[in-house]
């Protein structure tokens, strides 16, 4: 059993094969590691990949992030968002590009979750709200990558969900030996995503256990719950996940605030319906 798990982990982490992950990401990472690098240099390098730049700009200008006005250049985006967020956005556009037609629901779920994270973070007065949005966008990354890398096991997971009414996470754990939350942690290490985003995406099912950035994990957790409550998009199974009371307590969300959040969310749904980035 242990061997099988390791083998599956290896297959998942063979994400080098992902056809859409831009080479420029590696080069940019190298550049950023050097202390004397300027924003202009990084922006110039990203801008060389025009398709990627267009996608990134479309994403940062979408209602998901809620920036007033238009961000018209990669350099502007870099100054506003910082490299860590931009890097996560590049990963998300690349990964979601390999999704096939029947994963559109997951894209919508992720987009909705990103929007909800932004709404919650702004309402609670957190700093750097884009980072919360990005964590929401990436929180089901593991599901996409598992589907792409282990296509033979996907039907088995779906069967367990359909026939025994397991949650998608329970089914993953049974079939793969680990859930997408674990895969998220591996991928975050592999793509060197920042620590807060890593915790946001790998602890979104158990946010109260997140060691360093519980508020990030809690925001993603509550957003995920809301998306499933509104059935916005399709995350793999139908039904709300258990809402951890600790998450609401940690974020100090009282029922009144919860209703306000729902109000804002309803407004945003209208904006993000039909958004496509591919």
């Amino acid at each position: 059993m242990e061997d099988l798990r390791t083998e599956r982990k290896d297959r998942i982490l063979a994400v080098r094969d992902l056809p859409t992950l831009p080479k420029v990401l590696d080069e940019v990472a190298k550049l950023v590691d050097r202390p004397d690098t300027t924003t202009e240099e990084v922006a110039k390098l990203i801008s060389m990949d025009q398709v990627l730049s267009a996608k990134v700009l479309k994403m940062v200008n979408s209602p998901v992030y809620g920036f007033p006005g238009r961000i018209s250049s990669i350099q502007h985006a870099l100054v506003l968002l910082g490299f860590n967020v931009l890097r996560s956005i590049i990963v998300s556009t690349s990964v979601f590009e390999v999704m096939n037609e029947n994963m559109v629901g997951l894209w919508e779920h992720s987009l909705g979750c990103a929007t909800a994270c932004g709404v919650i973070a702004r309402m609670l007065g957190f700093k750097d709200t884009e980072e919360y949005s990005v964590a929401g966008l990436l929180h089901d990354l593991g599901k996409v990558v598992a589907t792409v890398q282990l296509p033979d096991l996907k039907p088995e997971i779906e069967k367990a969900v359909a026939e025994r009414d397991l949650s998608y996470l329970e089914a993953e754990r049974e079939v793969l030996g680990f859930g997408h939350d674990r895969i998220n942690a591996w991928l975050a290490d592999y793509w060197k995503l920042p620590a807060n985003i890593k915790e946001g995406i790998s602890y979104h099912h158990k946010p109260h256990l997140a060691p360093l950035y519980p508020e990030m994990a809690c925001v993603v957790h509550v957003s995920d719950f809301m998306m499933r409550l509104f059935e916005f998009g399709f995350s793999g199974d139908v039904g709300v996940p258990y809402l951890q009371p600790e998450a609401l307590k940690h974020l100090k969300i009282k029922p009144v605030i919860f209703e306000k959040l729902l109000d804002q969310m309803c407004e945003q749904f209208v904006e993000i319906t039909d958004l496509r980035f591919t």
Partner: protein, 119 residues
């Protein structure tokens, strides 16, 4: 508030959000009441969707367009695994109350548009 395809928009409905052309230039403000001529102009400019007050159109298709009535009906199924969990039942009641209020508010807002729209 509801986002609807332009061909389902009817005179008498009220815009809940401004309408913009694809190049980003706004052509009608929120609060504007739709008329035949305005709808023709939108059509000519390539506008495909408008966002109107209330929920005047029964849409089943696109996500986020589901009415609050329908969300109420779904609660039983969505919370099916927590029938014996007091905490989740409490959350369920909160949601039920919320959706009920929103459904009532939507019905009240959509009424005038529906009357003139169906005529």
């Amino acid at each position: 508030m509801q986002k609807i395809p332009l061909n389902l928009a009817r005179p008498g409905m009220v815009l809940a959000k401004p309408v913009s052309r694809s190049d980003g230039i706004a052509v009608a403000a929120a609060g504007t009441e739709l008329s035949d001529s305005l709808l023709d102009r939108f059509d000519g400019m390539g506008v495909t969707h408008v966002v109107v007050e209330g929920e005047p159109v029964k849409l089943d298709g696109p996500p986020g367009a589901t009415s609050f009535d329908k969300r109420l009906e779904r609660l039983d199924f969505l919370f099916r695994k927590y029938a014996n969990n007091d905490w989740m039942l409490q959350i369920r009641r909160l949601m039920e109350h919320y959706f009920r209020m929103r459904a009532a508010a939507s019905a009240a807002k959509a009424q005038p548009a529906q009357e003139s729209g169906d005529a």
